[in-house]
């Protein structure tokens, strides 16, 4: 029985394994955008990309940078302005709808009500490209549906109606439907939008696993920068100059592509943490931190919120003393040494210092904290 299981599963997992080097989707000097009556509105130009089997690719870019347009063009929904999209070395526009449906499946953002369909009914629709005129499901169709149900973990609600599910469950159903369509390429338009954090991670994990296990090429657009940095094999980044830069996420961070991509928005990408700086430094206050490991990072965050930049040789010197039971922050200021047990009190001290109202109140802080610790 185990044997037959394996054989069946292998059938669903053989996509692309035979030719890892050959890209499933590739473009050359592609221009994307909209055709207007007189002139073209170009959104992206000189786009060269390749989507390989087994890869999870995240397409990132600010709003309005043309992520959706690029995906629509790759999917053959929207004509390119110049250049060609190749799917398995044939122009995507040369595929018939039925043939294309066997090569590429889509998960769209359309969130209008999908009717009162049961989850299972929706899943069966995924087999449409393979069904005969009468639409009868064969054993093979049923076994791939079962496989997709297991992989996506939607078995508990296949009898429910789609309207009754949560957003995360709905998205899983739509991913399962795309898996059931049994295509080497899956394209998802913002699959993590509207989802809470556990669901966002759940969907990304699922897609990552599918790409790895089945050898499918999975392309998705997202705004989840940190999630994409962790999950993606390759990142495609829409740049402000309408070009597209592709690469392994870490490479793009190291060579500063990330920083330039979002510069337009006035955002600073922090290569250290892989996130965007929320607080802008006005260039005035600097602080030097010493000691601690994790505490140091969080202290830095708190200080940045207060308008400080952490740098060696700063105006202010903060020492962090840590032992098993407690943490202490020590600040040398005005010839005196102040000690604090909570960052809350450090911040309070710094604010008072700035307002020149530095009195003995810091002492109160200290005692208050001790009293609190006794409890």
């Amino acid at each position: 029985m185990m044997n037959s299981d394996n054989r069946k599963e292998k059938d669903f997992k053989n996509h692309g394994k035979q030719s890892l080097a050959e890209p499933l989707i590739s473009t050359q000097d592609l221009s994307i955008g909209y055709r207007r009556k007189k002139q073209h509105k170009v959104i992206g130009r000189h786009i060269d990309l390749a989507l390989h089997p087994g890869e999870l690719v995240c397409l990132l870019g600010p709003n309005g940078s043309g992520k959706s347009t690029l995906m629509r063009t790759l999917a053959g929904i929207q004509p390119s302005l110049d250049g060609q999209v190749f799917l398995k070395n044939h122009p995507v526009t040369a595929y018939s709808k039925k043939k294309l449906a066997k090569e590429m499946s889509l998960v769209l953002t359309e969130r209008k009500h999908t009717g009162n369909l049961s989850v299972y009914s929706i899943l069966t629709l995924g087999r449409y490209p393979y069904l005969n005129w009468f639409g009868q499901l064969q054993e093979k169709d049923k076994s791939i549906i079962k496989w997709a149900i297991r992989e996506t973990g939607i078995a508990p609600f296949i009898n429910s109606h789609i309207d009754k599910l949560s957003d995360g469950e709905k998205q899983k159903v739509m991913v399962a439907r795309a898996l059931i369509q049994e295509t080497p390429v899956i394209i998802l338009d913002e699959p993590t939008a509207h989802l809470d954090l556990p669901n966002r991670i759940g969907i990304m994990r699922l897609l990552k696993k599918m790409a790895k296990d089945t050898g499918k090429a999975i392309l998705l657009s997202t705004h989840e920068l940190d999630l994409a940095l962790q999950a993606a094999d390759v990142i495609w980044l829409m740049m402000p100059d309408q070009s597209l830069v592709t690469g392994v996420p870490e490479d793009l961070v190291i060579n500063g592509t990330f920083a330039t991509a979002f510069q337009k928005e006035g955002l600073k990408f922090d290569g250290q943490s892989g996130t965007f700086k929320f607080h802008e430094w006005d260039g005035k206050k600097t602080v030097t931190l010493e000691g601690g490991q994790t505490t140091r990072t969080w202290t830095a965050r708190a200080l940045e919120r207060e308008g400080y930049a952490v740098a060696p040789g700063g105006d202010l010197h903060i020492m962090i003393h840590e032992n098993k039971t407690h943490t202490r922050w020590q600040i040398e200021y005005g010839g005196e040494r102040h000690e604090f047990a909570l960052l809350e009190h450090v911040i309070k001290f710094l604010r008072q210092k700035d307002h020149g109202k530095l009195t003995t109140s810091n002492k109160t802080n200290y005692t208050k904290t001790l009293a609190w610790e006794k409890i």
Partner: protein, 359 residues
């Protein structure tokens, strides 16, 4: 990992509706058919109706004559009309993604009236059921063609508008406006006709199932059967459309072809029924909602056969009421369907709080 579940252990649900409900519905249709044949200005005992139906014949020749040449064609027309209008409404609601769509609402039946009026008035005849009966077999085909073309014309206009306007409510308003224009055109035509013709036309607009003769019934059943067959064949396409046109396309559906298919079958069915029976409202919009709420699904593989049964049952019921059993007079069928249909729609809305959830 949760790899423990073997693929074989996953049970797939069945797509077919509950057998008991289906059998019950078929029984309801059958009972209503017998009632429709038995009740009327002349009451015929049930066992006699049964004997006549099964070919044994009745001792009372008058009864046999009444059932065979008057009530049976009328009941058959009611069943055909119920099925045709329900399936038209169902397909339109899915195509336009609009719970309020239906042949009478979007002006499809008005288009059919226009087609009929052009043929009748244009060839010097009057649009009456009496005049319709004077047409031979060629005439019936002419009527069906004209009313189908009239429906298709309006349908094409609505489709054209729907490609530019994606707002359901706006589309609905446009549909009603087009229907009004069509009706106005027919009215102007009527205005220049004689007073008798106006009266005749008014009677035609009340709708009548009894004006359909054996010969018309043949033509009508061929046209409606073709429409039903096409609808059944497009059930899986219609399901894909429920996910939205973009999803449907991505799964390889030729949306344009399906639209053409729906236009053709809907115009054929609604056109044929309207041409011979006059405009019958509300069945087309009410039955799909009724079926959806009975079977709790929008899956067309279930909805299409079930709408046929519900539509046939509802139309037979309306026909029984319109005969006013025990009295000599009859109510116009169009008023009865509206009287029965409107509360049904209101009931569905109240039960589901809103139509979109049921849709």
């Amino acid at each position: 990992m949760q790899e423990a579940v073997a693929i074989e252990e996953i049970k797939l649900p069945r797509l077919l509706p509950k057998l008991t409900l289906m059998v019950a519905l078929i029984a309801v249709v059958f009972v209503l058919l017998i009632l429709d044949l038995a009740l009327g200005s002349v009451h015929i005992p049930f066992h006699e109706v049964f004997n006549i139906l099964t070919g044994k014949g009745s001792e009372n020749i008058a009864w046999q004559k009444i059932v065979e040449s008057i009530r049976l064609p009328k009941a058959m027309t009611a069943i055909l009309a119920g099925i045709a209008l329900s399936l038209s409404g169902l397909q339109m609601q899915t195509l336009f993604r609009n719970p309020l769509a239906g042949p009478s609402v979007l002006g499809i039946t008005a288009g059919a009236s226009l087609g009929v009026a052009i043929v009748m008035l244009g060839s010097g005849y009057v649009t009456t059921s009496y005049a319709l009966q004077q047409f031979g077999i060629n005439g019936s085909w002419l009527i069906i063609t004209a009313s189908t073309l009239g429906s298709a014309l309006i349908f094409l206009i609505i489709i054209g508008v729907s490609m530019h306007i994606h707002d359901n409510v706006v589309l609905l308003i446009v549909g009603i406006m087009i229907a009004n224009v069509t009706i106005a055109m027919v009215s102007i035509w009527q205005y220049f006709s004689g007073p008798e013709q106006i009266q005749d036309y008014l009677i035609w607009t009340f709708g009548s199932l009894s004006g359909v003769t054996h010969q018309h019934l043949k033509v009508m059943s061929i046209a409606v059967s073709a429409g039903i067959l096409l609808t059944f064949l497009s059930s899986k396409y219609l399901n894909l459309l429920l996910l939205g046109e973009n999803y449907a396309r991505s799964m390889g559906l030729n949306v344009r072809l399906v639209k053409a298919l729906v236009i053709f079958s809907t115009s054929l069915m609604a056109g044929a029924i309207t041409g011979f029976c006059g405009p019958i409202g509300f069945i087309g919009i009410a039955v799909p909602h009724l079926s959806r709420s009975i079977f709790n699904t929008s899956d067309h593989r279930v909805l299409i056969p079930m709408s046929c049964l519900v539509g046939a049952a509802l139309m037979l019921g309306c026909d029984i009421i319109s005969q006013l059993p025990g009295s000599q007079s009859m109510l116009p069928i169009n008023s009865v369907t509206s009287l029965v249909g409107s509360p049904v729609v209101i009931w569905v809305i109240l039960k589901n709080r809103n139509l979109k959830a049921a849709f």
